[in-house]
Symmetry: D2
Subunit: 308 residues, 4 copies
């Protein structure tokens, strides 16, 4: 951490900060600039007090991190990409993995019908929302869901529910972690870090749109997040163009864009009758359009050295 | 709702939309413009299917709401401001009500000390975070908290946890509902509507900062929300300048601004030793600074016809 | 336009609004809903007063447009895509067109060297900033630039300089119109409309990043804008991944994503020594990296039915 | 500046960076952390190459500024607040200064009528837009405007037109510098720095709303900017609640909020017939409402130790 002192601060105050830094377990290094003095605090931050608390001291202007706040999720700890296995499907390898299905499970018949259709088109994993915030007073019925599904999804609204992240980290199941609509990429990776730190290495990151001033799309699907996440982290990265754009006719182009810029997989909403769906109808593809998208995606995947 | 047809759409397709509108329980009115035809769907929306599903129909360009999606929370249903009573304190009347205390409860001694000091300075309600997302895998231990506190707080992260909103609506306790950092004002009032609709009229709205591109403040405390909420709704409106700005030295000016633009109350973090706080130290006031703020707030409250 | 009356407004006030609407040259249609009355104002808006002024009337809650504010730029007026010709190069056809070169022209030698290298790699148009806001007190030395270049660029900062747009519209040269960092897609197309309305059909739209809360990228390159613009407008759409991301190592993946989601062309900064560039060095590619990107782009273009 | 090296970088590369830092005229200091090495570059940045260019070097992860990029505008250079004199009116002193008038000058009669009315109510300076981007192909007819007005206004769209800033800085007139809708506070002060550096000390900063996801207001008037600017800079700070909110009925509460949180002045649009205004009618106050606002503002000003 770099502690920037207010200008005009004298030696006594700088010594006081150095003393506090030392007490907190770090080694202070003073650098005197033309106008400002900074104190670099060197040392492993894990298990030591948070140096940003020094911002509450009146002589300190600000405290700036030099390192990313995540470690296990970073490329620095692990250079090669991680693979996550889900029931025999490998995520993060050469093949692009597509998860498809309805946003909300409405009936067994509906799910089975969609499952058949999307599997036929090449989807490898069935998606189907069950316990969403809207159906449970608890954010996530963790154990129950874990028993009946192959992947646990942490929705955008729980991205900073750190106890849930830790709990999910203690379970063996792969976790799909969706970026919140106001979550920065740094916060996103910090949330992944909680799961990894609890012992679960099977984390899949998923970009699903951020909130901006633009209103022609429901959210602004941030494809920049794909190469940024691949640069900073070894974890596989998915994209959800259905939630991210909110319009079925934008799903296909953004799905292709996602694959071309490096995504490892896609989550796509498919519903047999979108105009009667219980939720998110306007962003769902009909099975026939999904089949067409899968045909069009294959050459894009191959163009960037992947398969589908 | 106004259903805007794509341009070049013929009578057969317009009739089809009118038929769907009628089947959904609304009366359709066709208006043919120079370039576009629109279908106005008239009728109470409560208890009928959501007309926005028609956006999934290919002949429809978009569906635009004419009415706000909330009703019980609106000024149209209740012209005079609501008052919420908390243990004898009236919120939403002439006096500005200040809640103060530490962000996280660290010990009984800490809370009691702060309680004494802020009460002495004029705070009417003690705040102290107990079950935050970071301390429980469930978003909110609702019953337990309800038993031991006078106000239930729905934090920014649960603002769209609709089942929690309904559950809290079924309990008798006053609810402090905090706007999420990416929650629009319309969504905010829709969340309040869930609580009101479940039978609980005691809802306090609280602005606490939204996420924008600006980084000198932790969030952008949106004081515009105060007059906008007062215009659209009869519910009392609070402001949290501590979380909203993230810096203790911005708390006093923004607290004054909040009162001047019409807030009914404030939530302010106070901690005896901010530089050692378990959370949010840099935004906490020391008790002496809080006392000074309270003295400075009084004339501002009086200048806008309130008291403190 | 749809004029939404405040609730509780009586017939006298509604009649007053209808009278004003008629005086402004439109035909009013009254629709009485369960709670609200709306007045639909039908008629061509071009050349008539702006109905949004009625928002200044106290009985009016709001005025909502039903039609997009642009017409010549829209798909409704012209279904097939427009092509823009620049010195024999066709923009908007099957081939993806790449413009490349330095951000600022530093010397003749520098430009000639880069020109040779990027042409060799397949770029069809040379870019080189000359009169930027930073070099002239006038936003754009229009005539001078027009005499010496094949395309006029309206930078992000002049996107709403309507007189400049009109002036450029009166000149014969093709115009590259860059979206501002806080420009909505609707405003963007409205700016294009000014140029088209002045008689110049040769407008190329260019997405170059919007400002959001995310800080790992300089801007958030909004690739969603590509399919949205293609859906709403017939004009060709370019993407500038250099300015949009601000980091040279994100240029290649985002360029591929842009082509895959439907862009007609790319603008890419190339500089022989980025670490010595007068401006925007960190986002410039060296000629060798640009050559590699061009090789990798070709299969992506072909995968979506284009060529390079 | 702090240059953060990529992890795993060896001594040769660190030496190379130190050599470049030295060549650029700074003194390098190496600090080796647990995981990362940083190089602090010490020295006056004015007149030396921009160290951020080193981000183009592959061994560098990022370059972080320690100092604000502005100096003359900062509190560090001048502790006491600056005063700007306009025709005998002192801006930045104890009295709050209100500028009022129409957004666009429509006729001499209109301006004179409004001038009389707002002067009577206590406004000290008349505002009236003349050469806006919409009326001139050049961003600002600088000399002409300078001859006929007492204050030069740099509108939000020219906030980063650095040559215009410098030109205006060379003229003697006071400058009202309006924050752009996507301008960060740091960029805002950097723009002020250009004017100050050119020799003109009479700069007034004006907050006028930033673009966010919220749509109930036209922009999000960012009152946090007031105490932040007062903390970082000695320049006077104005607020424009008319443009900032876009709704006449939000002007009064936000004007009071602005004064309470420390603004030195206000800019308010007043128009005798807002529903017929050539521009921005919905956000203009009628003269009677303006008079009422001025009466209500006085006690707020006094409550925070100011006068009106």
């Amino acid at each position: 951490m770099i502690i920037i002192m207010k200008s005009g601060i004298g030696d006594v105050e700088i010594d006081d900060i150095c003393r506090r830094v030392t007490e907190m377990g770090y080694a202070p290094h003073i650098i005197r600039g033309e106008f400002k003095t900074i104190v670099a605090a060197v040392g492993e931050e894990r298990g030591r007090p948070d140096l940003r608390l020094l911002e509450a001291v009146e002589t300190v202007e600000s405290v700036m991190p030099v390192q990313q706040p995540f470690k296990l999720a970073s490329r620095e700890v692990r250079q090669e990409p991680s693979e996550v296995r889900v029931n025999g499907v490998i995520i993060g390898g050469k093949p692009i993995v597509v998860m498809a299905g309805p946003c909300s499970v409405e009936s067994e018949a509906q799910v089975l019908e969609v499952a058949d259709r999307v599997k036929e088109s090449g989807a490898r994993i069935l998606r189907g929302g069950a316990f969403k915030p809207r159906t449970s007073p608890y954010a996530f019925q963790v154990e129950l869901v874990a028993e009946y599904s192959d992947i646990l999804q942490i929705g955008a609204r729980n991205i900073q529910n750190f106890t849930l992240l830790r709990r999910v980290g203690e379970m063996g199941k792969p976790v799909l972690l969706k970026r919140g609509m106001a979550t920065s990429i740094q916060e996103f990776l910090l949330s992944a870090e909680y799961i990894l730190a609890a012992g679960n290495p099977s984390v899949i990151l998923c970009e699903r749109g951020i909130r901006t001033f633009e209103t022609t799309t429901r959210f602004t699907l941030d494809l920049n997040a794909v190469p940024v996440l691949k640069k900073l982290s070894h974890l596989p990265v998915f994209v959800d163009p259905s939630h991210g754009t909110g319009h079925w006719d934008l799903v296909a182009p953004m799905a292709k864009g996602a694959v071309a810029c490096g995504a490892d997989g896609l989550i796509i909403e498919v519903h047999p009758k979108p105009e009667e769906a219980l939720s998110d109808g306007p962003q769902s593809l009909k099975p026939a359009k999904f089949a067409q998208l899968m045909r069009e995606l294959r050459p894009v995947a191959e163009a960037v050295g992947r398969s589908l």
